[in-house]
Symmetry: C2
């Protein structure tokens, strides 16, 4: 059983997986889906071994420059700045954006020793200065560190000619007023819109 | 990003892992623990490809007969019958048992089409008849199917000379009376023990 105990231990590198759930995973795979387990092993090996960061946007990719940066039908004039590759995936899944991305891979956090240069912010400035960027969308999450990072980027880009925007705040679609915070409701009231049934 | 999307999808073969937690797992591994991810891939491949069932006790193993069955210092006269390999692990971790095991890999469940022969119960009877077994411990979980299976095994072994036992019921150590069901408390009261401070 040593090799099984090793696998149980190895599964614990996955966030949120404790000893009991790791055991359950191993025996579920052995009993019901060995093929899918083998496929997972193969995918995992390729990703862990071969994935690098795109030299242009920092996102994960198998190539020197990622697919999103090389797609010629995407709008070069807009750059959406996000915290991490999960945000890129979330925005892509909305099918509502056709510009480029810049992935910070974190946010400014002095307590963790993460400063502007760790996030490649000088590279972002260079990109804005040397390419035909007209708009930078700051799509960071509104945590304290996210806000700090957005303010820093605003200062950084102040003297360039790009317009700096952020995602609209408001009630999430399907959101329940009772469960929402007062600040979001206040903001949604202030920015209320005339109902347009064509929309 | 296709290869990353493939890995996210592949991770969903693990029980309890949805699309969002799979994404989080992939980016956690890429950012923080590629080595552990590679090790997981290697372990997973070996287990999925090479693990078989022990011909003697049905437990998972890399060999024809498993380590627990071949250990010469274990007591051949006691066989502990359990539902699945996780139960073997749990009992081994208690360091309180030195006999052999028999793993049913399930329990009798007519609704799922699982009958006595699917659980290798004829093989258990043969083992009891042909080897020096003196005691069979029924360590199945007390669900309806578990109880049914235990009754079936009791009937099956009635005419052999083995004694059939079950694990003691009672209050779990550290258990909170308020959170326990009435049946357990009733049983624990009925079977109350004189306090023995030497224990």
């Amino acid at each position: 059983m040593d090799i099984i105990a090793n696998l149980v231990e190895a599964l614990r590198c996955l966030p949120g997986v404790g000893p009991k759930s790791a055991q359950r995973m191993v025996f579920h795979l052995l009993q019901h889906s060995r093929d899918r387990g083998l496929r997972l092993a193969a995918c995992l090996e390729i990703v862990m071994r071969d994935v690098v960061q795109c030299v242009s946007c920092n996102n994960y990719t198998l190539h020197h420059v990622c697919d999103l940066c090389t797609q010629i039908d995407r709008n070069d004039a807009i750059v959406c700045v996000v915290e991490n590759p999960l945000d890129v995936m979330a925005i892509e899944q909305s099918h509502s954006y056709n510009g480029k991305y810049y992935v910070l891979m974190g946010k400014i956090s002095p307590i963790d020793g993460i400063g502007p240069s760790d996030l490649g912010l000088p590279k972002l400035l260079e990109r804005v200065m040397t390419s035909p960027v007209q708009e930078v969308i700051l799509a960071l999450n509104p945590s304290v560190e996210g806000q700090t990072t957005m303010h820093y980027i605003q200062e950084l880009l102040k003297h360039t000619k790009v317009s700096i925007t952020q995602l609209a705040h408001g009630i999430p679609i399907g959101g329940d007023l009772v469960l929402l915070d007062a600040m979001t409701i206040g903001r949604a009231l202030k920015k209320r819109e005339i109902i347009d049934f064509v929309d």
